[in-house]
């Protein structure tokens, strides 16, 4: 590797050989011979500066060679060369200015210049100015990235100089932006900084906020009497407010050594313990020191005797606080800059807030579609048949495991998803029909017992899944093209998987509406929902309709399982994680109406995200509050948001 690099370097040297005349680099190197040979971090700076500012075309090469530990000094005359290992511990040297081979020397005649990591970092910084105008776009990009990561004042000038000749449009935009940011942070001219701040105002980039925030950073300080002049004061603080309590104020005084530290209960105890004299402290028996009054009395006696610092009384605190003035001052000395930065941050804050709201709304929308997908099957069975299917969550799990098994057989992720979705539908449809025929149809008149019987099936299925697939989570990998996220700016982004789930939910809504409104099965289902006996007397077979409806609901649960498995881990508990939310969705939305389910899902999704936003650190609390809210909501609309009216509503 190193060898190749040096060969390339040599080739480069040959190319520029013709241009090498007037500003040779060797004299500069010789000028700083001692410190280069010594290579100490503390003293090396002038040498690096001199090379970087020499204007010599070889400056970059020399710095790069140096940083790569390939610079050698000939001991006989102290001339520096680029060195390359040859045979038999011999080294071939190249002259920096001419690029020609200067001969081959044994290692004993040479001294390798080995810069330590600190020096290499300094060389790296010096190299930035060369890299910014490097013909290779990738290296220019790398230089920009390194400046972004660690902006410093000395990059400002080379960056400005490099903007003019930048051919690449994208890099040019980056350079301009970076130049503005560096101007805000480091320019010596206040007006230029304020201009830059105002120019950038309203930009949503995280880098801008990272640049502006240090400008408005403040420190709390205290002075005797009046506020000292010459400081950029942000605020005068009055002790005793919510943000600056009297305790804070006194603590600040103590930190600044302007007041005696308070004597804490612990201090008192330690002082008393240290002054026990024959079972007594200051004449008071130790056994009686089990309350604060006695302890204070004993301590005060000790303090009077000079054996402990006196207690700070409330009067002392009052006096100290009254005689001092507390203020917050900016680290940044220029008031113009801080004012502009504050204004800019306020403007940005507003826009960030708006965008965050948008982002939150997108999140809530995606949560809504997940809940909708999970609940739609339940809504069908509950709405049409009045049957609560506690095993619904296990059908979701079954769908997810189907996806996993298909992926084990068909390794191509896209193809396996395309196969898995209909297969999951078939599997859970069959399971649903079987369950309806075997169990549920015997229990139609006993809704509470359906709930329990399906629960029995649910625990059996869950344990069965555990026995077959084990307790560890199984992966269901999304296809490549679903990875990544759709990013609008630094604040708003949404992952493609969530968009896909949203689209899937829309498709399901459409399919469901089509089946219900445009097909024979839908017609019969609606008839049975409204009045099962009447429907039967019109020649509809309610048993068959119920069976198919239940199958349909279960099948949809299976497809939802594939979708949920794509972003959640597939475990045997996958279904039970969603079952309560699904129930909530159905109950809140209202039974027997797909729009009700949609409304319920939307309400729960938005509510959950909203509460999470209010209290972001605590999703558990968010869920708690949401359930409490739903319990209260049911008070006002016991039949859900969209309730069926008339006879269909039942009792």
């Amino acid at each position: 590797m190193k060898r190749l690099y040096l060969l390339g370097l040599a080739a480069l040297l040959c190319c520029v050989m013709a241009a090498a005349q007037a500003s040779d680099i060797q004299p500069i190197l010789q000028e700083h011979k001692q410190i280069i040979a010594k290579s100490a971090r503390k003293t090396i700076a002038p040498a690096i500066d001199a090379i970087a500012k020499s204007g010599s075309p070889q400056a970059q090469t020399v710095l790069e060679t140096w940083a790569a530990k390939a610079m050698w000094m000939r001991k006989s005359d102290g001339v520096f060369f680029a060195g390359e290992k040859a045979e038999d511990k011999q080294y071939r040297l190249f002259d920096f200015d001419s690029g020609e081979v200067a001969g081959t020397y044994p290692k004993a005649d040479l001294k390798q210049i080995k810069p330590n990591s600190g020096i290499r970092a300094m060389i790296g910084t010096a190299l930035v100015q060369f890299q910014l105008i490097d013909p290779d776009a990738a290296r220019r990009q790398a230089a920009l990235t390194s400046i972004q990561r660690d902006p410093e004042v000395r990059f400002l000038a080379p960056l400005r100089a490099s903007i003019e000749g930048e051919p690449d449009v994208k890099l040019l935009a980056q350079k301009r932006r970076l130049e503005r940011l560096l101007t805000i942070s480091f320019d010596k001219n206040t007006e230029a900084r304020v201009n830059a701040i105002e120019e950038m105002s309203g930009d949503l980039g995280v880098d801008l906020r990272a640049t502006l925030n240090p400008l408005v950073a403040t420190t709390r300080d205290v002075a005797l009497g009046e506020v000292p002049s010459g400081l950029n004061i942000a605020d005068i603080l009055a002790p005793g407010t919510e943000f600056f309590s009297r305790t804070d104020a006194y603590d600040l005084l103590v930190i600044k050594s302007l007041a005696q530290p308070k004597v804490t209960a612990n201090d008192i105890r330690n002082a008393l313990a240290a002054n026990i004299d024959g079972g007594r402290v200051a004449g008071i028996p130790v056994a009686r020191l089990d309350n604060d009054t006695a302890r204070h009395r004993a301590y005060d006696i000790l303090a009077k005797a000079g054996q402990a610092p006196a207690r700070v009384t409330t009067d002392d605190v009052d006096a100290a606080l009254a005689s001092h003035v507390f203020f917050e001052s900016y680290y940044e000395p220029s008031p113009d800059v801080t004012t502009a930065a504050n204004a800019s941050l306020t403007a940005i804050g507003l826009r960030v807030g708006l965008n965050q709201t948008l982002d939150l709304a997108l999140d809530a929308l995606s949560l809504t579609s997940i809940y909708f997908l999970a609940a739609i099957g339940l809504a069908i069975t509950f709405g049409v048949m009045g049957v609560i299917n506690m095993a619904h969550g296990e059908f979701i799990m079954m769908g997810a495991y189907t996806g996993y098994v298909v992926q084990r057989i068909i390794p191509d992720h896209t193809l396996s998803i395309i196969v898995a979705i209909p297969l999951a539908f078939v599997v859970t449809f069959t399971a649903g029909v079987a369950m309806e025929r075997l169990v549920i149809r015997w229990l139609y008149a006993r809704p509470l017992e359906t709930l329990l019987a399906t629960f029995g099936i649910s625990i059996a299925l869950q344990q069965l899944a555990k026995n077959i697939f084990g307790t560890q989570a199984r992966p269901l990998t999304a296809p490549e093209w679903l990875n990544g996220a759709f990013t609008m700016n630094d604040v708003v982004s949404i992952s493609y998987i969530r968009i896909a789930i949203f689209i899937l939910a829309l498709i399901f809504l459409g399919v469901f509406l089509f089946i219900m409104k445009r097909t024979r099965l839908g017609l019969e289902t609606r008839a049975v929902t409204q009045n099962s006996r009447m429907a039967a007397s019109m020649g509809i077979n309610p048993g068959r309709v119920n069976m198919l409806t239940f199958g349909l609901g279960s099948g949809i649960a299976g497809v939802a399982g594939v979708a949920i498995g794509l972003f959640a881990k597939v475990t045997s508990e996958l279904g039970s994680d969603y079952i309560v939310q699904s129930f909530m969705t159905v109950v809140v939305g209202g039974v027997g109406n797909i729009w009700g389910t949609l409304a319920g899902a939307a309400m729960i999704g938005f509510l959950q995200k909203g509460i999470e936003w209010l209290n972001p650190s605590n999703t558990l609390a968010a869920q708690t509050y949401m359930i409490v809210f739903i319990i209260i909501f049911i008070q006002f609309r016991p039949r859900g948001i969209i309730a069926l009216k008339g006879r269909a509503a039942g009792d």
Binding site: A265, R269, L272, A273, I276, V281, V286, A287, L289, D290, N291, D292, R295, I388, V439, W442, L443, A445, R446, P447, L448, E449, L451, L452, A453, F455, G456, I457, S458, I459, A460, L461, Q462, Q463, L464, K466, N467, S576, V580, F583, M584, V587, N618, L620, A621, Q623, T624, I627, V628, I630, I631, I632, I634, Q635, F636, P638, D651
Partner: protein
């Protein structure tokens, strides 16, 4: 002429006799008081089972007799456990702290003692302050009162809200499930003041008691048996008189009872609060035997298992609930404890630890389908008791059970 309560409920006497015999037998077999055939941990299991029987009786009252399928009674059970656990933990920690502080040179002030207890208890959740809800933890009497008051109040508020808006049937079941889930999630937080998912632990050590667990376990068995006996008698009394008739009327046809002029909501609320208190007392006796309580105990699944016990035992008869809870929970312990022998099938060995839940789920479905009376039906067979032949066929205990139309098919 008024017949006495006992005469009307002969089963209560039989139940008392069985319970007394059982308690006596366990005492004689225990390590603490008897020949030592029953290990202390087994005695504890039996004591815990008695507590589960008590909450099953409560469940039978609310479900079998009133027709409200509550899937949230384990929330009250857990709350009762937390209330007694707070005192047990506080008092025990206090004794330890006072002991250790007495070693220091200066005797501690009361506030120092409280601070040290707070540090001990809440250090695990990164806090040392006592939350508001621990205000009465230093008093056994108050905390014992809270065992009943807190779950009772929660049941009162929840029940009032739910019954007032006439939420019934599966809606109510799901709401109660949501309630217990909300409570469990709330308690899972570290800042809920009850040590988050660490829960309260070390509850088996009674403060100030030096007797070994061999004896303590038997004491708790007696207490649990006493509570179960009293709870059973209370439940039997509640369902035997006019109140019981109204309650069963609500189960069979709520609208008709309302039209007869009864305040259905009040009756439901009374039963709901009463059963919540019974559940809380059961919990307060259960968790000192279990030794630890954490919010996972209140997960909705626990309450559903409770319904399973009662259904398998037989709803609408109090002894059915007791039999079901005892039978299923002991069987469950036996199977999941790895004591049941594996069944080799040649190509596959059935390990009961893995397959027990499958068996339970399926047998539960079978009981619902084929034996809605549960195990209590066996006793009918044995006593040759027949249902009255009023409409020709036997009908189940509630609206959800077998109806005449189905039965006559």
């Amino acid at each position: 002429m008024q017949r006495s309560f006992i005469a009307k409920n002969p089963s209560v006497l039989i139940f008392f006799a069985c319970l007394a015999l059982f308690t006596l037998a366990v005492t004689v077999l225990s390590e603490g008081f008897g020949v030592g055939l029953a290990s202390t941990s087994f005695v504890k299991t039996l004591g815990k089972t008695l507590c589960l029987c008590l909450i099953a009786v409560a469940m039978d009252l609310i479900w079998g007799f009133t027709g409200i399928l509550s899937l949230g009674h384990f929330a009250f059970f857990g709350l009762g456990g937390y209330m007694i656990g707070m005192w047990l933990m506080y008092e025990r920690t206090r004794l330890i702290v006072v002991e250790s502080l007495s070693q220091t040179e200066i005797p501690p002030t009361p506030s120092e003692v409280v601070d040290a207890i707070g540090n001990q208890i809440f250090g695990v959740v990164g806090s040392s302050e006592f939350p508001m809800i621990w205000a009465f933890a230093d008093s056994l009497v108050l905390q014992l009162a809270l065992v009943v008051l807190v779950p009772g109040l929660l049941a009162l508020v929840f029940g009032w809200l739910a019954f007032r808006s006439r939420v019934t049937g599966v809606y109510l079941s799901i709401l109660t499930q949501a309630m217990t889930l909300a409570l469990a999630l709330y308690l899972f937080q570290n800042d809920s003041g009850l040590r988050g998912n660490n829960g309260l632990s070390g509850l088996q050590n009674l403060p100030g008691v030096t007797a070994s667990q061999d004896f303590v376990s038997v004491w708790f068995l007696w207490a649990s048996a006493g509570a179960l006996g009293l709870g059973y008698a209370l439940a039997a009394w509640a369902v035997s008189g006019k109140f019981g008739s109204v309650v069963r009327g609500i189960r069979d046809n709520e609208a008709r009872v309302r039209f007869l002029g009864y305040s259905v909501e009040t009756y439901k609320l009374v039963i709901f609060v009463l059963t919540a208190c019974l559940a809380a007392i059961a919990g307060a006796l259960y968790y000192p035997q279990a030794g630890i309580i954490n919010p996972a105990e209140m997960a909705p699944i626990a309450s559903v298992y409770l319904a399973v016990w009662v259904a398998i035992g037989g709803r609408g008869r109090l002894y059915g609930a007791v039999i079901g809870a005892a039978f299923v929970s002991l069987l469950s312990t036996w199977f999941t404890g790895g004591q049941a022998p594996d069944i080799p099938l040649g190509f596959y060995t059935i390990k009961w630890v893995d397959w027990w839940l499958v068996l339970l789920g399926l047998s539960f479905v079978a009981v619902t389908l084929f034996a809605p009376k549960g195990m209590g039906g066996l006793i009918d067979l044995w006593t040759r008791r027949k249902s009255p032949n009023r409409h020709g066929l036997d009908l189940g205990p509630d609206e959800g059970a077998l109806r005449e139309q189905e039965a006559s098919k």
